[in-house]
Symmetry: C2
């Protein structure tokens, strides 16, 4: 490896230390791809056949994955290989199903509904490069996210192996991913076939890594009129390892070599504040290199690899963020602090046991990741890469009253009179009485001789939650209500604590109740809800009816007079103030031994019951009716 000391390098030198090979396509590559696209646009399949024959010495073909083909492929593989393929597919499927985008419903104002929905892209081309061996993992890492997204037509294309047939592992993996055929064509020709729709409708998006010809073909495809979208720019693979003195040099070296064996251009970087570790890894590299099947490739890559000596792990993170590696491995004793500072990476591997190899095959997330510093603006392939979102917007007559004035005003400011009139025509001056026109916020500013309080509730946001009543325990209780209730609550109180906590607690409860009442407004969609909540030996049962009638039934008693500065007798009082000012019927019973637990259980139960009662639930709510 080449050795550098970061602190001794100036800006230009630092750029050179982190430089990658220039990924610009050569003029010959650009010209070839342009000619290929023109010929394929003109002659279709004939041009593809001619070029594949000439360049790669095979005829493009399609292989149907019939039961016979599949059985024969399975028979020629070891059962452990089939199990490994099944395991990898299961892991990849699990991760992607868990991270599939979900629809979301937002109601910014009464009568104004927005739903963000996701739909799969209909037709995708998935390019699996032909290595010296079958890249089964890349097939899985593309085909499974596409399957989870719901893509209708997944076309997998790859160059055939020796003898013009794909490796049996490719057949088994493709079939297990639910595909029923493989395209046997590689290189820029495959991309041209997908982009120009030679055998199937044009691909709407093309995925997968490849050599310089493939990368240039993807670029030119994207520039076609109505050309396909492209997953991400993909060049030679990259790994940066940040290691501390305690790192296992043999493990670090094994990761660097697993990167180096890809290709003489693979980018391998080691960053450490420890000279000893850097030296140990160098020794390990030489030891492990010898005898690798791809030793000569790995050796050339390691010669170009860079060992960067930094002064601290913080400096190392700075180097990583500048470089934005495809893969970043943190082999340090306490990775926690560093992880949160990582801004730019394709994927981050935390700790000694998280081999990059695991991620390449069996952890779950797709290994198709941005290289060449593209991680500064691109994420890796995910289910969302195979989908697109749009909004469904629905404005009622009442909603239109609220929007029309401002929309028309802005349209006229922009000189777009027809826009303004399209707003005006929806506007009727009389507001329908039945629908209140406001966001679900309530704010109360309440000042008496005893307390000065500002309370604000926003039922459509979970932040901020910021409570300052002057009574620590009561702050804690109101935080429970907001967090468990899932809404934003800010409340500050300056009260006469020099007397006692009574006025502050009572008045905060009043202000909170009033702010919540204001936020609930016409109480559309809200109902009766209850919650029973255990907390160690204590149990609180609370049911609430937000119908507007104030009533409290409280069943419970406390042994101690106070918890910190908070008198236990205030709990019943707080709930009564709340019931009265919010306009709610609350039945609360609490049993147990520990007053802290009992009190906290009461407030948590309130939060949980409110959470159900106040939500305008989104459509992915788990209810068999589709609605609460």
């Amino acid at each position: 490896m080449k050795r550098y000391t970061w602190s001794e390098a100036n800006t230009d030198e630092r750029q050179r230390i982190l430089a990658r090979p220039d990924q610009r396509a050569s003029p010959e590559v650009v010209a070839f791809v342009r000619q290929l696209f023109a010929e394929v646009a003109d002659e279709g399949e004939a041009a593809l056949r001619r070029w594949s024959k000439k360049l790669d010495d095979y005829e493009p073909a399609t292989l149907e994955l019939s039961p016979t083909v599949l059985d024969s492929a399975r028979a020629s593989l070891a059962s452990e290989d089939i199990e490994a393929i099944d395991f990898a597919i299961d892991q990849v499927r699990f991760y992607h199903e868990a991270t599939k985008p979900k629809p979301q419903a937002i109601e910014p104002l009464p009568g104004v509904r927005v739903r963000q929905v996701w739909r799969p892209i209909a037709t995708c081309g998935l390019y699996v490069p032909a290595g010296t061996a079958p890249l089964v993992s890349t097939l899985i890492m593309l085909a499974e996210p596409a399957r989870v997204a719901g893509v209708r037509d997944r076309v997998i294309t790859t160059a055939p192996g020796e003898g013009g047939a794909p490796h049996p592992a490719m057949i088994v993996a493709a079939a297990t991913c639910g595909l029923d055929r493989l395209w046997l064509i590689g290189g820029a020709q495959a991309i041209a076939a997908l982009a120009l729709g030679v055998w199937t409708p044009r691909a709407q998006k093309i995925f997968g890594p490849g050599n310089a010809y493939v990368a240039e073909a993807k670029r030119q495809a994207a520039a076609l009129p109505n050309g396909p979208a492209i997953d991400l720019p993909a060049g030679p693979s990259e790994l940066m390892v940040i290691a501390d003195r305690g790192a296992n040099a043999a493990m670090v070296a094994s990761d660097l070599l697993s990167q180096a064996e890809h290709d003489a251009d693979a980018q391998v970087m080691l960053v450490s504040a420890s000279d000893e570790l850097l030296a140990e890894v160098e020794v390990e590299l030489q030891r492990q290199l010898t005898g690798l099947p791809r030793e000569s490739i790995a050796r050339r890559s390691i010669e170009q690899a860079r060992a960067i000596r930094v002064r601290s792990l913080v400096e190392a993170v700075g180097v990583a963020n500048d470089y934005a590696p495809e893969h970043l491995s943190l082999q340090v004793a306490t990775p926690g602090d560093l992880v949160d500072s990582i801004e730019n990476a394709g994927a981050v591997f935390i700790g000694a046991y998280t081999a990059e190899s695991f991620s390449d095959y069996v952890v779950g997330p797709s290994h198709v990741l941005p290289t060449d510093a593209a991680a500064k603006s691109y994420g890796g392939v995910s289910v969302a890469s195979f989908m697109k979102s749009f909004t469904q917007q629905e404005v009622s007559a009442a909603g239109a009253q609220r929007l029309a004035g401002a929309a028309a005003r802005l349209a006229r400011l922009e000189g777009l009179e027809a826009h303004a009139r399209a707003a005006d025509i929806r506007f009727a001056p009389a507001r329908p009485a039945e629908e209140a026109v406001r966001r679900r916020c309530g704010e109360i500013k309440r000042t008496t001789k005893e307390t000065k309080i500002v309370a604000r509730v926003d039922l459509d946001s979970v932040v901020p939650v910021s409570i300052s009543t002057g009574v620590g325990f009561f702050d804690h209780m109101l935080e429970q209500v907001a967090h468990h209730g899932g809404f934003s609550l800010t409340l500050s109180c300056a009260g006469d604590l020099h007397i006692d906590a009574h006025h502050s607690i009572e008045d905060c409860a009043i202000a909170f109740g009033q702010a919540l009442k204001g936020a609930l407004s016409d109480r559309r969609g809200i109902a009766r809800f209850g919650f029973v909540l255990p907390m160690d030996e204590a149990e609180a049962k609370l049911s609430i009816d937000l119908g507007g009638r104030p009533y409290l039934v409280f069943d419970g008693a406390f042994a101690a007079p106070a918890i910190g500065a908070y008198p236990t007798e205030m709990t019943k009082h707080v709930f009564r103030s709340l019931a009265e000012n919010l306009g709610a019927t609350i039945h609360l019973s609490v049993t147990g031994e520990n007053d802290h637990h009992k009190t906290e259980a009461c407030f948590k139960a309130l939060g949980r019951a409110l959470r159900s009662a106040i939500r305008v639930e989104s459509a992915d709510l788990p209810s068999t009716k589709g609605v609460i």
Copy 2:
């Protein structure tokens, strides 16, 4: 408008009906942009000055939004305009905060943790085209999502208005969006400045619509080595309205005109199964056209507009999906069915009152949307457009044992020995005893003389839920448990229903309990939970302790002997079977009048209590401790 009848057109004719103007940049545009980029790369600012002076007759400048500048801008605007700007920004902010991507934690296997995190892109260029008037709305629709994402450097660039200064509304909007300066430079020059980093570090992503020069400049910028990412391809604006006989022709016409006034190239389409409606809209168009300030532009666009007569609304949706309009308006009496069938659109507006104008200014989602059929593969600008995601993967020593074998196997299949060794080096044959290595699934296959049952529970997935016990009402009950519990349950039973439902119901409860017990395994992280749930007049209170000890306390009675084929006496029996086979203490009491409600409340309460009890909660859980 030009009139077409869809059913009478053949495939080629249909393509022509939906054809858009060719968006390929002319050779002159391509050559100019290439020259501009080369000169700016060479000379920097001097080249930008020269071209801006020559093409647009102004000098590029930067305007600091100082208090003085801002005060003076505010003073020159009507207070209603300032309010409209504030309102629009508030709406846009609200929507984007609600849809900001959230991190997600997934644990595919014990000892294997993956966290998908999101980070803002650091530097973005936001291009606001200069119309004949200030495009305040486009500024807001780009700057606010970027702000919500957390982008550090948001550069807004726009051509100055008359006199070399921006319109006061642009100043006020920019300042309210939290910006402190405006770049006054337009056209391809602005894109070159952003992409090549003339005044600031290179933009990592460039956003915004523009003319053919701007679009070509964005394309060329993206093709630079380490070039910026690009938001989406943006060409002339598009609106398709699907209207039925009952649509308000004046409203439909007003929407079509608000599209048409943008530009003579704006794409305006009306699709209807009603000749009367098509005729009415044509009359309204002519009536509303007269006297529009941009009448001549709108008239040219409407002349090119297309009215497509379809046979049904289903056919209309097919036309919309083929065309993939930027804006799609559904002005029909029952839009519900259609909405779910829309696959390709930039945004969908539902119902007569949802003017496209509202969405352009004040609904909330960004109005920067894909045109030219790009909606088939791209979504519009969102907070996620200003962020990228990556995964943080962490494998423990025990996790490595589970992954290493399969990873090494696949690596060797791919001929990557160093990858295999990096996996092997993490592998130690002895499994640590303390960490069970399994996903939280349980599967039971149970066959007796009376029933044959397969039950499968996956606590880490919400799908599939598929129940077939042979007793309709009981299927419904178990679906409630799975949906409200938030887990996957598949259960099929072939039982002796010719005798009665007893054996099937009981044995399904046993199998479900056993499968759930298997899935819970070592019961890591689970506890005691309860739920009280009202359902009309009925209320069920259920508390559960998953500690392993089977016990049922049931308090309730039913009046009717059966609900459908389901005997009400089975409810107590089902819960006992569950308690015994799951290893749970369950206390259940139910009151009410209606047996259906009472029974359903029992099962829903079970689902809700299980939901809390089984979750491995993610980090965004609303708890003041940060953990349950």
